[in-house]
Symmetry: C2
Subunit: 130 residues, 2 copies
Protein backbone atom coordinates (compact mmCIF):
# COMPACT_ATOMS: atom_id res chain seq x y z
CA UNK A 1 0.00 0.00 0.00
CA UNK A 2 1.37 3.34 -0.95
CA UNK A 3 -1.31 5.88 -0.16
CA UNK A 4 0.02 9.23 -1.29
CA UNK A 5 -0.42 12.11 1.13
CA UNK A 6 -3.19 14.34 -0.17
CA UNK A 7 -2.75 18.00 -1.01
CA UNK A 8 -3.98 20.31 1.73
CA UNK A 9 -5.37 23.84 1.34
CA UNK A 10 -3.06 26.76 2.09
CA UNK A 11 -4.31 30.33 2.40
CA UNK A 12 -3.07 33.16 0.28
CA UNK A 13 -1.23 35.45 2.69
CA UNK A 14 -3.44 38.41 1.76
CA UNK A 15 -6.35 36.52 3.32
CA UNK A 16 -4.55 35.99 6.62
CA UNK A 17 -4.84 38.68 9.27
CA UNK A 18 -2.38 39.56 12.00
CA UNK A 19 -4.38 38.24 14.99
CA UNK A 20 -4.56 34.82 13.35
CA UNK A 21 -0.79 34.75 12.84
CA UNK A 22 -0.13 35.93 16.40
CA UNK A 23 -2.47 33.25 17.71
CA UNK A 24 -0.70 30.57 15.71
CA UNK A 25 2.60 31.71 17.22
CA UNK A 26 1.21 31.96 20.77
CA UNK A 27 1.73 28.30 21.64
CA UNK A 28 5.17 27.19 22.89
CA UNK A 29 5.24 24.02 20.76
CA UNK A 30 4.25 25.87 17.59
CA UNK A 31 6.68 28.68 18.30
CA UNK A 32 9.48 26.19 18.84
CA UNK A 33 8.64 24.43 15.58
CA UNK A 34 8.66 27.70 13.64
CA UNK A 35 12.07 28.44 15.08
CA UNK A 36 13.35 25.02 14.07
CA UNK A 37 11.98 25.41 10.54
CA UNK A 38 13.60 28.81 10.29
CA UNK A 39 16.94 27.50 11.50
CA UNK A 40 17.00 24.14 9.71
CA UNK A 41 14.93 24.63 6.58
CA UNK A 42 12.23 22.20 5.43
CA UNK A 43 11.65 19.17 7.65
CA UNK A 44 9.61 16.00 7.36
CA UNK A 45 6.63 15.71 9.67
CA UNK A 46 8.52 13.09 11.66
CA UNK A 47 11.43 15.48 12.09
CA UNK A 48 9.03 18.24 13.11
CA UNK A 49 7.46 15.96 15.67
CA UNK A 50 10.85 14.98 17.03
CA UNK A 51 11.72 18.66 17.35
CA UNK A 52 8.37 19.33 19.03
CA UNK A 53 9.18 17.21 22.04
CA UNK A 54 6.78 15.02 23.95
CA UNK A 55 3.49 15.97 22.28
CA UNK A 56 0.78 13.42 21.33
CA UNK A 57 0.54 12.84 17.58
CA UNK A 58 -3.03 14.16 17.32
CA UNK A 59 -2.06 17.31 19.21
CA UNK A 60 0.91 17.78 16.93
CA UNK A 61 -1.27 17.38 13.83
CA UNK A 62 -3.50 20.10 15.23
CA UNK A 63 -0.47 22.37 15.70
CA UNK A 64 0.59 21.82 12.09
CA UNK A 65 -2.92 22.58 10.93
CA UNK A 66 -3.05 25.80 12.95
CA UNK A 67 0.26 26.94 11.45
CA UNK A 68 -0.82 25.95 7.94
CA UNK A 69 -4.17 27.73 8.19
CA UNK A 70 -2.42 30.87 9.45
CA UNK A 71 -0.25 30.84 6.34
CA UNK A 72 2.95 30.18 8.27
CA UNK A 73 3.92 26.84 6.74
CA UNK A 74 3.64 24.78 3.60
CA UNK A 75 2.66 21.14 4.09
CA UNK A 76 3.76 19.53 0.84
CA UNK A 77 2.93 15.93 -0.10
CA UNK A 78 6.10 14.00 -0.90
CA UNK A 79 4.91 10.52 -1.80
CA UNK A 80 3.41 9.04 1.37
CA UNK A 81 5.02 11.67 3.54
CA UNK A 82 4.91 15.40 3.91
CA UNK A 83 7.51 18.09 3.96
CA UNK A 84 6.91 21.10 6.17
CA UNK A 85 8.44 24.40 5.15
CA UNK A 86 8.23 27.84 6.73
CA UNK A 87 6.67 30.42 4.38
CA UNK A 88 9.25 32.90 5.61
CA UNK A 89 9.53 35.17 2.57
CA UNK A 90 5.81 35.46 2.06
CA UNK A 91 5.12 36.10 5.75
CA UNK A 92 7.90 38.70 5.77
CA UNK A 93 6.31 40.50 2.82
CA UNK A 94 2.85 40.41 4.37
CA UNK A 95 3.91 41.24 7.96
CA UNK A 96 7.31 42.96 7.68
CA UNK A 97 9.61 42.40 10.63
CA UNK A 98 7.18 40.24 12.55
CA UNK A 99 8.90 36.87 12.29
CA UNK A 100 12.30 38.47 12.81
CA UNK A 101 11.09 40.09 16.02
CA UNK A 102 9.38 36.94 17.24
CA UNK A 103 12.33 34.67 16.44
CA UNK A 104 14.92 37.10 17.81
CA UNK A 105 12.79 37.72 20.86
CA UNK A 106 12.32 34.05 21.37
CA UNK A 107 16.08 33.56 21.42
CA UNK A 108 16.63 36.57 23.66
CA UNK A 109 13.90 35.46 26.04
CA UNK A 110 15.53 32.05 26.37
CA UNK A 111 18.70 33.57 27.74
CA UNK A 112 19.02 35.09 31.17
CA UNK A 113 17.51 38.51 31.52
CA UNK A 114 18.09 41.27 34.05
CA UNK A 115 15.20 42.07 36.35
CA UNK A 116 12.91 44.95 35.51
CA UNK A 117 11.02 47.06 38.01
CA UNK A 118 7.37 46.14 38.38
CA UNK A 119 6.36 49.37 40.05
CA UNK A 120 4.64 51.90 37.91
CA UNK A 121 6.20 55.42 37.88
CA UNK A 122 2.77 56.43 39.06
CA UNK A 123 2.60 60.14 39.68
CA UNK A 124 2.26 61.27 36.10
CA UNK A 125 -0.60 58.90 35.38
CA UNK A 126 -2.81 60.18 38.18
CA UNK A 127 -2.11 63.78 37.24
CA UNK A 128 -4.28 65.95 35.02
CA UNK A 129 -2.00 65.92 31.98
CA UNK A 130 -1.49 63.30 29.28
Amino acid sequence: MSTAARALPHPDLVDVDLPQVLFALSDPTRLHLVRELDAQGPLSVAQCQAAGGDVPKSTFSHHLRTLREAGLIWSIPDGRRRTIELRRDEVDRRFPGLLAAVLDTDRAASSSDPGLPELHPAASVAGPTG
Copy 2:
Protein backbone atom coordinates in the same frame (compact mmCIF):
# COMPACT_ATOMS: atom_id res chain seq x y z
CA MET B 1 -20.23 56.53 48.00
CA SER B 2 -16.74 56.87 46.64
CA THR B 3 -15.35 53.37 46.42
CA ALA B 4 -11.76 53.70 45.29
CA ALA B 5 -10.67 51.34 42.54
CA ARG B 6 -8.45 48.67 44.07
CA ALA B 7 -4.88 48.04 43.07
CA LEU B 8 -4.49 45.08 40.72
CA PRO B 9 -1.49 42.77 40.36
CA HIS B 10 0.88 43.36 37.47
CA PRO B 11 3.56 40.86 36.48
CA ASP B 12 7.21 41.68 36.33
CA LEU B 13 8.12 41.46 32.65
CA VAL B 14 10.82 38.87 33.36
CA ASP B 15 8.04 36.50 34.42
CA VAL B 16 6.11 36.93 31.18
CA ASP B 17 6.94 34.66 28.28
CA LEU B 18 6.59 35.34 24.58
CA PRO B 19 3.68 32.96 23.88
CA GLN B 20 1.61 34.72 26.54
CA VAL B 21 2.30 38.13 24.99
CA LEU B 22 1.53 36.85 21.48
CA PHE B 23 -1.72 35.35 22.75
CA ALA B 24 -2.71 38.63 24.39
CA LEU B 25 -2.11 40.40 21.07
CA SER B 26 -3.92 37.75 19.02
CA ASP B 27 -7.41 39.19 19.51
CA PRO B 28 -8.55 42.02 17.21
CA THR B 29 -10.12 44.07 20.02
CA ARG B 30 -7.03 43.80 22.22
CA LEU B 31 -4.72 44.54 19.32
CA HIS B 32 -6.74 47.61 18.42
CA LEU B 33 -6.64 48.82 22.02
CA VAL B 34 -2.87 48.38 22.21
CA ARG B 35 -2.55 50.43 19.04
CA GLU B 36 -4.76 53.17 20.48
CA LEU B 37 -2.77 53.25 23.72
CA ASP B 38 0.45 53.46 21.76
CA ALA B 39 -0.86 56.30 19.61
CA GLN B 40 -2.77 58.28 22.23
CA GLY B 41 -0.97 57.58 25.51
CA PRO B 42 -2.78 56.63 28.75
CA LEU B 43 -6.58 56.41 28.54
CA SER B 44 -9.36 55.97 31.05
CA VAL B 45 -11.18 52.65 30.98
CA ALA B 46 -14.19 54.44 29.49
CA GLN B 47 -12.01 55.84 26.72
CA CYS B 48 -10.52 52.40 26.13
CA GLN B 49 -13.97 50.91 25.89
CA ALA B 50 -15.09 53.60 23.46
CA ALA B 51 -12.03 52.85 21.35
CA GLY B 52 -12.75 49.12 21.55
CA GLY B 53 -16.01 49.41 19.67
CA ASP B 54 -19.17 47.44 20.33
CA VAL B 55 -17.92 44.98 22.94
CA PRO B 56 -19.91 43.99 26.07
CA LYS B 57 -18.49 45.47 29.26
CA SER B 58 -17.68 42.07 30.80
CA THR B 59 -15.88 41.00 27.63
CA PHE B 60 -13.93 44.21 27.62
CA SER B 61 -12.93 43.73 31.27
CA HIS B 62 -11.64 40.31 30.29
CA HIS B 63 -9.61 41.84 27.48
CA LEU B 64 -8.04 44.35 29.89
CA ARG B 65 -7.23 41.55 32.30
CA THR B 66 -5.58 39.47 29.56
CA LEU B 67 -3.43 42.43 28.53
CA ARG B 68 -2.57 43.24 32.14
CA GLU B 69 -1.63 39.67 33.02
CA ALA B 70 0.58 39.51 29.92
CA GLY B 71 2.47 42.56 31.17
CA LEU B 72 1.30 44.76 28.30
CA ILE B 73 -0.59 47.40 30.26
CA TRP B 74 -0.74 49.14 33.61
CA SER B 75 -4.18 49.48 35.16
CA ILE B 76 -3.71 52.26 37.70
CA PRO B 77 -6.37 53.26 40.26
CA ASP B 78 -7.20 56.95 39.97
CA GLY B 79 -9.82 57.58 42.62
CA ARG B 80 -12.89 55.63 41.56
CA ARG B 81 -11.61 55.16 38.05
CA ARG B 82 -8.66 53.56 36.37
CA THR B 83 -6.08 54.75 33.93
CA ILE B 84 -4.77 52.27 31.38
CA GLU B 85 -1.25 52.74 30.07
CA LEU B 86 0.79 50.68 27.62
CA ARG B 87 4.01 49.33 29.21
CA ARG B 88 5.78 50.11 25.96
CA ASP B 89 9.32 50.70 27.25
CA GLU B 90 9.35 47.64 29.46
CA VAL B 91 7.89 45.40 26.77
CA ASP B 92 10.43 46.78 24.29
CA ARG B 93 13.27 45.91 26.66
CA ARG B 94 11.94 42.42 27.32
CA PHE B 95 10.91 41.61 23.72
CA PRO B 96 12.93 43.96 21.51
CA GLY B 97 11.23 44.96 18.29
CA LEU B 98 8.09 42.93 18.92
CA LEU B 99 5.61 45.74 19.53
CA ALA B 100 7.13 47.82 16.76
CA ALA B 101 6.68 44.95 14.32
CA VAL B 102 3.15 44.20 15.50
CA LEU B 103 2.03 47.82 15.45
CA ASP B 104 3.70 48.58 12.12
CA THR B 105 2.39 45.35 10.69
CA ASP B 106 -1.06 46.11 11.96
CA ARG B 107 -1.05 49.44 10.14
CA ALA B 108 0.43 47.90 7.01
CA ALA B 109 -2.10 45.07 7.06
CA SER B 110 -4.95 47.57 7.29
CA SER B 111 -3.97 49.15 4.01
CA SER B 112 -4.41 47.49 0.66
CA ASP B 113 -1.86 44.86 -0.13
CA PRO B 114 -0.77 43.36 -3.42
CA GLY B 115 -1.67 39.75 -3.98
CA LEU B 116 0.90 37.07 -3.26
CA PRO B 117 1.20 33.75 -5.02
CA GLU B 118 -0.32 30.86 -3.12
CA LEU B 119 1.42 28.18 -5.11
CA HIS B 120 4.44 26.62 -3.57
CA PRO B 121 7.61 26.66 -5.71
CA ALA B 122 7.47 22.94 -5.23
CA ALA B 123 10.30 21.16 -7.01
CA SER B 124 13.08 21.80 -4.54
CA VAL B 125 11.07 20.55 -1.57
CA ALA B 126 10.38 17.13 -3.04
CA GLY B 127 14.04 16.68 -3.99
CA PRO B 128 16.62 14.82 -1.93
CA THR B 129 18.46 17.88 -0.62
CA GLY B 130 17.62 20.25 2.19
